[in-house]
Amino acid sequence: MQMNFLNSPKWIDVENWPISWEIGGTAWFPFLESIHVIAAAFVVGSILTVDLRLLGIAATKYPISTLSRELVPWSWGAFVIATITGLGMFITRAASHVVNPAFQWKIFLLALAGVNMAYFHFRVYKHIAQWDMTSSTPTQLKVIGSLSLFIWSGVMLAGRWVGHII
């Protein structure tokens, strides 16, 4: 069932879309890729401060809520750009990407990053008043912060590895 999805000839159809040919055969591809790298670095760079704050390592003078409110929208904005440019590159080699283990890891880790973030925002964030100002954060926050750091580094590594396998 799952293998049918990944081996479906539909992915070849995606590669044969006129836009896929246009991107893959022109300077559009490196252009999208360089934007993708900058946007991805920005996602990680902006979220890094929040993660390190959750760990009590950096920016401890600022309330977690303030950092989160001011930085996370930048992460999301950059993430949208990274997703659009990523999709642009994906469609040029869709059939190869879906069976590429590095690509599969990347998607899995992105989903995991999403779960970690959702857990923080919907489960933990409502109790924010208790530890918003303290620099020594509770274990729960330290776990969320370090998971975020490791998962996003994993996304970068898997993303970079995609190009070494394809």
């Binding site: 790298v37 670095a41 996602v43 760079g45 890094l48 950096a58 590594l157 190009g163």
Partner: protein, 175 residues
């Protein structure tokens, strides 16, 4: 490319530095993508430190943070990330020196990187000399904004050029 530049490539070619870099790249399993990821994580810190500071100075981001406080808090992160990127980048540079020192985009990258470092260092040093240096008068604040705009463009161009080094064929040898 200028001759002194290509000569650096020739000098490194066949040196023990090249031998060491190639040994690491070829022998350690997964070393090329791992060290590239370290390099990109360094770029992420560039984005999260100096680029975010530039956006703050331009009035676009993190309004609750003060410019002087951000500068003293974030600049050490930037310098360590750059040091790390010199090391991670050196593996590739030393591994194939002629590839880089004959590559016009690598030349562009350095010509963005050197002024970017100079400008950021100047900004940091002035800020260290006097607390709140860049916010003490409207003239200084406008200078800071001009610096931030140029710095922002330069750091983005450094990262962009880095990626384009591998695509130099597209530009100089179109099919």
């Amino acid at each position: 490319m200028p001759e002194f530049f290509t000569n650096i490539g020739l000098l490194l070619d066949g040196s023990f530095l090249q031998a060491g870099a190639l040994w690491a790249l070829r022998t350690i399993p997964g070393f090329p993508p791992i060290i590239q990821t370290v390099h990109i994580l360094g770029i992420a810190i560039v984005m999260g430190s100096v680029v975010m500071l530039d956006l703050r100075i331009l009035g676009m981001a993190v309004p609750s943070q003060k410019i002087s406080e951000m500068t003293s808090r974030l600049m050490p992160w930037l310098w360590w990330a750059l040091a790390s990127n010199f090391v991670s980048g050196a593996f590739f540079l030393f591994g194939r020196p002629n590839r880089y020192f004959n590559n016009p985009i690598f030349g562009w990258k350095l010509s963005f990187l050197i002024p970017a470092i100079g400008l950021t260092l100047f900004f940091h040093l002035m800020s260290r000399q006097q607390a709140g240096y860049w916010e003490l008068s409207s003239k200084r604040l406008w200078s800071a904004r001009a610096i931030a705009l140029v710095s922002l463009a330069l750091w983005i161009l450094v990262a962009m050029a880095g990626r384009w080094i591998a695509y130099v064929e597209y530009i100089y040898y179109p099919a």
